[in-house]
């Protein structure tokens, strides 16, 4: 249906105001939020005018005070010819916001839907659209998914302009490029592509533009649509674009040569190209001392492997490789499993699924009864199941530790992926033992190595090995030692900082001796 729409010739505006308004009314049939304010100015030629806008999308005060009032007063004393009058209208409209001259119904309608106010006048085939967009947005609040202890506490909102402003406020460089696109036949969503000229790789910028232009869809409601439509490896469970609601994280990404995609209506901003290891970075890593940051990074990698492998290793070792356990541990595990009716694999599956159910319930639950879930989950399912002898205590420990480790991964979309792969690993561990777990890990490695995000290998600083990029992967080196931007992501401008930034004790000035 988008196709049909496109083929239609744009309908030019009529000379008669009444005709234009009539076709507008026809287009906006049953749209009660469109407002048409007609007025006429008692001058020599009794001109008829009309203001058209959508209520709620516009800033009413600005229309009344900055647009309508000066317009009326200017027009009432104006006695020039028709072209001069039109220029006067445009002049007045500029007082309220940037103006655009529209000549057909199509673009007129588009301007109205963007929150502009269109001024139509009798006897013109043109109309002036004045940027009066406004209305209610959620105000800037703290991030809900990526919290930090130290660091900026503001998060993006649903408004595209607010979001880009939050980035440009942090990045005052004249090299910051913000390119707008309208995507979605019906939703007409504004999408902005942000990058730093010279720092971002030009070819990647072009590629992203090309892929964005390819999209023909009825609507874009969130960055997730874009991610799924332009991302690489469409069938992989791993995300090939990063999303964040933190302006500082986006700014840092831009400085490293990444490209940001901001979608109107969503507080999550996409960053690309991205590597696997970026999902283990939190913006707080750079706000804390590097020892702490490095420790936390390593901890996250540990938590990643625990969350991925712990249940499968437990199943594999307890059903195939009992001799690997120290005797005391083996005896205590056997004692716990004595009387448990289910095989370890089924037991683990049940508990993992129970946890996933609890987690999903926790997300969907109205906040007021959210605490009930944790009580039911922790007490009823955990303790009671153990006491009833349905589940062994060790399994509860394994599953809860796995679950907690899962939340250590800073990026929620990677942690969900890990949760999915965990089930496959458990199946492999339960059928083939440690051998199966190793096979699974191999397949995972092969898959990860085959991924690319906008031309950048997914496992980049590690495979292919780039020594200089390893400064910011497993261990976060001190800031003064990270002299260059990451190789392979950033474009031409590689140098980040001066060489000798490491703080030194002040040298005695030899000249004064």
């Amino acid at each position: 249906m988008g196709q049909k729409h496109r083929e239609k010739m744009p309908q030019p505006l009529s000379l008669h105001l009444e005709d234009n308004l009539a076709s507008l009314r026809a287009a906006a049939d049953k749209r009660s939020d469109m407002v048409i304010r007609s007025f006429h100015v008692p001058t020599v030629n009794q001109m008829e005018y009309a203001l058209v806008y959508i209520e709620g999308l516009v800033d009413l005060t600005s229309i009344n005070e900055s647009l309508l009032r000066p317009l009326m007063s200017v027009l009432s004393v104006h006695d020039g010819d028709s072209a001069e009058r039109f220029a006067a209208i445009q002049n007045c409209a500029s007082a309220a916001g940037p103006t655009v001259i529209v000549e057909d119904m199509e673009s007129l309608w588009q301007q109205i839907m963007q929150g502009d106010t269109v001024i139509l006048a009798q006897g013109y085939r043109q109309a002036v659209a004045s940027g009066t967009s406004g209305g209610e947005w959620r105000s800037i609040a703290e991030p809900t998914t990526q919290n930090v202890i130290r660091g900026p506490k503001e998060a993006f909102t649903e408004s595209l302009r607010t979001n880009t402003s939050m980035i440009s406020r942090r990045l005052k460089s004249p090299n910051l490029r913000i390119q707008n696109k309208i995507i979605g036949e019906q939703t007409q969503t504004s999408v902005s592509v942000l990058y730093l000229e010279g720092i971002a790789d030009d070819s990647v910028v072009h590629e992203i533009q090309r892929r964005l232009d390819r999209i023909q869809i009825d609507g874009i409601l969130e960055g997730g649509y874009i991610e799924e439509l332009i991302g690489d490896a469409a069938l992989s469970p791993f995300p090939t674009m990063f999303n964040t609601e933190r302006p500082d994280a986006v700014t840092a990404g831009l400085l490293e040569g990444q490209i940001a995609i901001v979608v109107d209506g969503s507080p999550f901003v996409l960053l690309a190209p991205v590597t696997f290891f970026a999902f283990f970075e939190s913006s707080e890593d750079y706000y804390q001392r590097f020892y702490i940051a490095s420790f936390l990074r390593l901890l996250r990698f540990g938590a990643f492997f625990i969350s991925l492998l712990l249940p499968s290793l437990y199943i594999a070792v307890t059903t195939y490789h009992q001799e690997m356990l120290p005797t005391t541990l083996l005896v205590s595990l056997v004692a716990q499993r004595e009387g448990v009716p289910l095989p370890a694999l089924i037991e683990a599956f049940l508990m993992e699924i129970t946890f996933e159910v609890l987690r999903e319930a926790g997300v969907r639950m109205p906040k007021a009864i959210g605490s009930a879930i944790s009580i039911v989950g922790a007490l009823v399912l955990g303790q009671a199941a153990v006491e009833a002898g349905l589940i062994s205590a060790a399994m509860v420990i394994i599953v809860s530790f796995t679950a907690i480790s899962n939340f250590v991964i800073p990026s929620p979309n990677l942690s969900v992926t890990v949760g999915l792969i965990r089930f496959t690993m458990m199946l492999l561990g339960g059928t083939l033992g440690l051998y199966g777990v190793m096979v699974g890990l191999m397949l995972l490695c092969i898959h990860l190595a085959s991924l690319r995000s906008f031309g950048v290998p997914y496992l980049m600083p590690v495979a292919p090995l780039i020594w200089s990029n390893l400064k910011d992967v497993f261990i976060r080196f001190p800031l003064w030692s990270m002299r260059t931007r990451p190789d392979g992501i950033a474009g031409k401008n590689r140098i980040r900082q001066k060489k000798t930034l490491k703080p030194q004790p002040p040298q005695p000035n030899p000249g004064k001796e």
């Binding site: 307890t318 059903t319 195939y320 009992q322 001799e323 356990l325 005797t327 205590s332 004692a335 370890a344």
Partner: protein
């Protein structure tokens, strides 16, 4: 398109792989009988295996099962068969669970079995992947079945307890070495074909353990480490007592720490009193040479340590006294070493590795002599020398005895 046959093929193959193997060789924990110690003996011309099985519910502390059963933490199962693995397989006839020998820590060999020969035992251990060569070996003069069924204070799992016992002993007093199946296999296959295994014995009445007995502060029977069994070509040929065993340990350079009591006069003529020297660091260097057709082995033993008690008139400030002290310790050490040497010399069993020494030094002559090494070994002249360094005398320099008399 997403699920085209082309795409489904690998997924299908993967699923088949998983389904076909179908949890092959899966063993649930609750299907296992965990063996913590094994006894082996010869009876009626058959092997008799005794397995000490852990009762998990009684052994594991603090399980939330709730039933704090007061049963014994172990139970014992004896099975017989023509061969070791046949006996092992006969377990299926009477045990509901599969024997899990991966965590077996202790192997107790009856002296009848040890005299019969352990080669087939070593063979099964090397051949089968489930059994571990790191199991600690013991020889007992008692019935291994009774040994394995003993209970221990403090240790719920007796097998683990015996393992700890020998490990700690080897570390702290070094009289008996910890010998595992791998050591036995390599030593028995070595140049001299001789090996040692520590003895485990029951002191007291020698009755099977019972939890009732553990309710008293002393039990009628108890496990203890004894002497050292000497094996030649996998067969038991003789025994050493603990003092001889310590001497052998010094020659073999297997001493970590040792405690030696000796007599010392405290620098004065006349009345000698007992003192203790604790060896903290010792090395033995063996050298072999031939002189007029005779093989001479010299052992240079260097021992460092401290005096931990004395009843003598010791005055450690006087270097002359210290030298005398070192002399006293050295004499005692030499006596211990010679005692051990005489014992193995009498048995004609080269457990000290002189055959390897010879093989390395005179590789050509070894081929001729190796058949009759026992004879050659009997002709070896052994010349030990001892250097003792007293590094510390503890917190007081003069003995209390001396302080009293001043």
């Amino acid at each position: 398109m997403l699920l085209s046959p082309q795409r489904m093929k690998p997924i299908f193959a993967f699923m088949i792989c998983i389904c076909l193997c179908g949890c092959w060789s899966r063993k649930e924990l609750t299907d296992l009988a965990i063996v913590s110690a094994t006894g082996v003996d010869r009876k009626d011309n058959q092997w008799e295996l005794t397995y000490q099985l852990v009762t998990p519910a009684a052994s594991a502390s603090g399980t939330s099962g709730g039933n704090a059963s007061s049963g014994p933490p172990i139970s014992v199962l004896s099975i017989q068969g023509d061969t070791l693995r046949k006996a092992f397989a006969n377990n299926e006839l009477e045990n509901t669970r599969q024997l899990h020998i991966g965590n077996n820590r202790v192997f107790v060999i009856g002296d009848a079995a040890a005299k019969y020969g352990l080669n087939s035992l070593i063979d099964t251990y090397l051949r089968n992947p489930q059994a571990r060569e790191t199991v600690s070996l013991f020889v007992t003069k008692n019935n291994p079945r009774i040994v394995v069924s003993q209970l221990m204070y403090l240790e719920k799992n007796t097998g683990e307890g015996i393992h700890k016992l020998i490990e700690k002993e080897t570390q702290n007093t070094s009289i008996l070495p910890k010998v595992n199946m791998f050591d036995l296999a390599t030593e028995s296959a070595g140049a001299s074909k001789c090996a040692v295994i520590p003895e485990l014995r029951i002191s007291g009445k020698g009755e099977p353990g019972s939890t009732k007995a553990l309710e008293n502060t002393t039990t009628a029977s108890k496990l203890k480490l004894g002497g050292l069994a000497i094996l030649n070509k996998g067969k038991l040929v003789g025994w050493l007592n603990q003092k001889e065993a310590l001497g052998i340990a010094f020659i073999r350079n297997r001493v970590n720490r040792a405690v030696i009591s000796f007599e010392f006069s405290g620098g004065k003529e006349g009345d000698k009193a007992k003192s203790t020297f604790e060896v903290s660091d010792t090395t033995t260097r063996l050298k072999m040479k031939r002189k007029e057709g005779r093989i001479i082995v010299t052992a240079n033993i260097k021992a460092k340590g401290m005096i931990t008690d004395t009843g003598s008139q010791l005055d450690a400030i006087d270097p002359k006294v210290v030298r005398e002290l070192e002399q006293g310790v050295g004499d005692e050490l030499l006596r211990i070493v010679l005692e051990g040497w005489h014992a193995i010399h009498g048995l004609r069993t080269d457990v000290v590795g002189f055959a390897d020494l010879f093989h390395r030094k005179y590789p050509r002559d070894w081929q001729e002599i190796k058949e009759d090494w026992a004879v050659a070994f009997a002709g070896i002249e052994f010349q030990p020398s001892v250097e003792v360094t007293v590094e510390r005398v503890g917190l007081i320099n003069q003995s209390y005895q001396k302080l009293l008399e001043e």
